[in-house]
Symmetry: none
Subunit: 301 residues, 2 copies
Amino acid sequence: MKESFSSDSPPAPAALAAKVRTLAPSMTRSMQLVAEAVAGDPAGCAALTVTGLAELTGTSEATVVRTARLLGYPGYRDLRLALAGLAAHQESGRAPAVTADIAVDDPIADVVAKLAYDEQQTLADTAAGLDTLQLGAAVAAAATARRIDVYGVGASSLVGQDLAQKLLRIGLIAHAHMDPHLAVTNAVQLRSGDMAIAITHSGSTGDVIEPLRAAFERGATTVAITGRPDGPVSQYADHVLTTSTARESELRPAAMSSRTSQLLVVDCLFIGVAQRTYETAAPALSASYEALAHRHTPRTR
Amino acid sequence: MKESFSSDSPPAPAALAAKVRTLAPSMTRSMQLVAEAVAGDPAGCAALTVTGLAELTGTSEATVVRTARLLGYPGYRDLRLALAGLAAHQESGRAPAVTADIAVDDPIADVVAKLAYDEQQTLADTAAGLDTLQLGAAVAAAATARRIDVYGVGASSLVGQDLAQKLLRIGLIAHAHMDPHLAVTNAVQLRSGDMAIAITHSGSTGDVIEPLRAAFERGATTVAITGRPDGPVSQYADHVLTTSTARESELRPAAMSSRTSQLLVVDCLFIGVAQRTYETAAPALSASYEALAHRHTPRTR
DNA sequence: CCCCGAGCCGAAAATATCTTTCAGAGGTGA
DNA sequence: TCACCTCTGAAAGATATTTTCGGCTCGGGG
């Protein structure tokens, strides 16, 4: 088999440094200068025009073009494009260094990157750890429930409100209780065919367990969304949906990642219910959308 | 001191598809054609000259250049370079391909996987599209503000509450207003040294714009967290933080992914402020943690 | 020591590509 | 209906890239 030695025609995408080494001996002095610059700093060179690169290397435009040709590209333009690709490549290569904790003196850009990464991780963990059988059972119960009560306090209260808000939008009767006393008062009204959902990261929040217990004892279907499936709350839950517990740091309290995790679970629950009640959910969704339309002023552009 | 970093972002590195989605609504018809082509086939477009892309999309060179500008590049040449980089990127990380929409008859396990994937994507897009200069400015203002008012209605209201709750925890005076009338009533009390934050995905929610406007006109520092940085709300915002706009489907309303995006932005803001006020934030955090401890009953087992 | 040829190199012309300008098309509100 | 305003593409103008072409250096004879 023939070895196409010097002038490989296919525009090499990645292994450019190697190509430079291979071809260097067959290059003239000025060409080597150019090739070296290109191999040494692809990103930097990608930002330069022919003229710029010629000046940088102390040569002429013609030489730059000749070098590009020797490297297998039709012209400098194409070499430059390949360079940009290469730069992007090795840019991504050094990305995963963001795993460290967020520090007090991190620049704001790092904070964004780390936070996004952490939350992505939390989502992946949650999805992996979610018991789809339990979820399916919870969905089935919610889709047919006469009414749905949601309990949550503190940060979890917002998640509960989110869930109730969405369920209302697809025509279900759902209510998020924020006041523990009122929650218990309401819970004792529930009976078989009703549903109660408790949200607590710790799994041991008394204010949330009490109403769930009341609902459980009166025969309602109960669900617990918690990061501690072995906690007290599970005693009174027919179905337990587990949220993930991410490492926390001084600057990043547990509430933050648990919220992300809880929201994913709640979203899954919601979509599941929406699927099951599609006939009524779809029109209800668009109806609520249209009812809000007039609240938006026309764009200014 | 005013720097010229007003609202345009640095030449976007990667998340181009996200940027296209964010900016698409503010684009003219022909520009959308170009943007679509670019987002749909970065590699293919990178191989084309201005004229080529103009012909492919059935528009003119001028339109192509205009689109490139809108996307944040100095001209088409630079867009093309970025495109080449993007192409190289997705060349390596060959598609995970869970990208399909959630269907009515998807099994529950698929729903979980798709939802988790979509939200991860949303997080990545948001992080990539967030202007850290604007964020830094917002953080600086928040850290020194006398009081902070947050406006949001509907789904955004929960995000607002989340932000206010967290800021309170580190000792800042923050309040989330849910009632539009009360919000305006309160906003007119603000003055220089105070801060107002409006959260609206559409960027055109009157109930949120009005209080922000009142605050803006009275000299408070104003921030808008929106998916439409070109929307009316930005008129009255000193700093605009852009959230990402994910594709939505019938079963997955925009509110869902916009919430994920908004929460990330809000978290970044919070952490930023916590860094800046570390001396007081750290003790405040642990104090609020301890105050809640007695609310948790001991775990079983 | 001088002359000659071969190939390398860069200045500048020629070409391709990108950017800007400008005037007409098409739509919108009064 | 008319005035106005924005979008759009054709063509002029500006840059960047490629090609041409002649000078240059270097090494080997005469």
